[in-house]
């Protein structure tokens, strides 16, 4: 989508400019993958930086340029799992978790959302909904969350996800199936439907 195979080819050959362009093209995607996985800005930044440092070091070993996307997400998932292990061991609290409430002026949610809409009430509701949905994602298991984010928000095919996670396609589909069922139940519990969202927003 954002990359051309010749860019990847040039990056594999050591072209620093091509590598920089790849990073610029994919940084937002990898950051958002990390953010949705951790619901944490600092950890998402950490994952994105580590992913592109690893990309720079190992892209010469990438066999086929057409497989750049699953390869890049493989690195990103490994970085996420590494951070997850660190976090479970250290039980550290991110400063982002201690951020002020959404009604305060220096809220990141407020800042990000302010660029989208000029209606403050709608902006606030949008931010609240985003937090609720992100909270639902965090209730999924790590394995289901990886698959759901890759499928729903990164738009990857099941084959690509299976390649990135080094799993069979059936395993990936099964995780998606149960993840989707769990998400549906969560919305039912919170009484959130497509209609109520459309009405309120």
């Amino acid at each position: 989508m954002m990359h051309a195979e010749d860019l990847v080819t040039r990056a594999r050959e050591g072209d620093a400019v091509a590598q920089g362009k790849l990073m610029q093209a994919w940084y937002k995607r990898i950051y958002n993958f990390g953010y949705k996985f951790f619901f944490d800005h600092d950890l998402a930044m950490e994952v994105a930086q580590k992913t592109f440092i690893a990309m720079h070091r190992h892209i010469a070993y990438l066999q086929e340029a057409s497989r750049f996307r699953p390869w890049l997400y493989t690195i990103a998932v490994n970085c996420c799992r590494e951070e997850l292990r660190k976090r479970k061991n250290s039980r550290a609290v991110s400063l982002h978790d201690l951020r002020p409430g959404n009604d305060e002026e220096d809220s990141r949610t407020w800042e990000v959302a302010a660029h989208r809409d000029d209606n403050p009430e709608r902006t606030l509701r949008q931010a609240e909904l985003a937090d609720i949905l992100q909270g639902c994602l965090m209730q999924l298991s790590d394995e289901q969350r990886e698959v759901v984010i890759m499928k729903e928000y990164e738009g990857m095919k099941f084959r690509e996800i299976a390649e990135a996670l080094n799993l069979s396609e059936n395993t990936v589909k099964s995780r998606m199936y149960y993840g989707l069922e769990a998400m549906k139940r969560m919305l039912e519990r919170k009484k959130i439907t497509r209609e109520t969202i459309g009405y309120e927003l």
Binding site: Y31, Y35, L137, Y153, F158, M176, R194
Partner: protein, 273 residues
């Protein structure tokens, strides 16, 4: 129709990743199972809601990308080999400067600095054996002399100690026997004195006791006589009192009889007349 798609097939169909005949079979199955169709519609709605969770805006940080190609001289194995070669060069130069020599001759390796020192003449095996033998003999003789002197000294000491101890034992025996005679004499005299005192005390106690016993006996006898006299007197008084009462009783009865007789005689004479 017993066909029922598994969860993998169903999810692949839902995401549009099912092609051809498999897709048609699922669609036909969904036509017959409206409740499953509704479930897929619920999935669609769920995904639509979660689709409202958008991306965060972020700016990629400037990362300075260095040259990815490593030069031949920076390869690991080249640097390792060069390190070994440099170390060897330093060793060789240092050895040269310090005059290091290594000589191997007649199965002997000699390492040193500067000119090798001349080898001094060494002793033959026979000479070494003779030296060892002589040294052993001298050592044995010295040990023998020492042992003899020590033994003699030890025997003298034992003899002196035996004599000294015998004298001490005799003196002790004499002292003990003398002490025992004196003790026996003192014991016998003390025993005699004690016996004499005991007999005197016994006799004295015996005389005094007899005297006290006789006195006590006389007193008791006197008390007995006095008591007996008092009881006799009481008996006598009681007998006399009884006798007096009987006499008075008899007197009264006699008077009554006489009175009665007198009264009877008067009444008879009046009837005769």
């Amino acid at each position: 129709m017993n066909y029922k798609p598994d969860e993998s097939t169903l999810i692949a169909y839902h995401y549009g990743e099912l092609e051809g005949e498999e897709r048609a079979k699922v669609e036909a199955w969904l036509e017959q199972h409206p409740e499953e169709r509704r479930r897929l519609d619920d999935w669609r709605d769920t995904r639509a809601v979660f689709g409202r969770l958008g991306d965060k805006e972020v700016i990629a940080p400037p990362i300075v990308v260095g040259d990815n190609h490593r030069s031949f001289w920076r390869e690991g194995y080249v640097r390792f080999s060069l390190g070994i070669a440099a170390s060897l060069l330093v060793v060789v130069v240092a050895a040269r400067l310090l005059g290091f020599t290594a000589v191997y001759r007649e199965g002997e390796l000699r390492l040193g600095f500067g000119e090798p020192a001349p080898v001094q003449a060494t002793l033959s095996e026979e000479q070494v054996a003779a030296m060892i033998q002589r040294s052993l003999q001298e050592n044995n003789q010295a040990l023998q002399a020492t042992w003899t002197e020590d033994r003699k000294h030890l025997e003298d000491n034992i003899r002196k100690n035996v004599l000294s101890n015998s004298e001490r034992i005799d003196q002790l025996v004499r002292n003990v026997s003398q002490g025992q005679q004196e003790q026996i004499r003192e014991f016998v005299s003390q025993l005699q004195a004690n016996n004499l005192k005991t007999i005197q005390d016994y006799l004295q106690l015996s005389t005094q006791g007899q005297k006290e016993y006789v006195e006590t006996l006389l007193v008791d006898f006197s008390k007995y006589l006095q008591e007996q006299r008092r009881q006799d007197l009481q008996y006598f008084q009681t007998s006399m009192s009884n006798m007096q009462q009987n006499t008075e009783q008899f007197k009264k009865e006699t008077e009554q009889i006489l009175t009665s007789l007198i009264g009877t005689g008067r009444s008879g004479s009046q009837r005769v007349y």
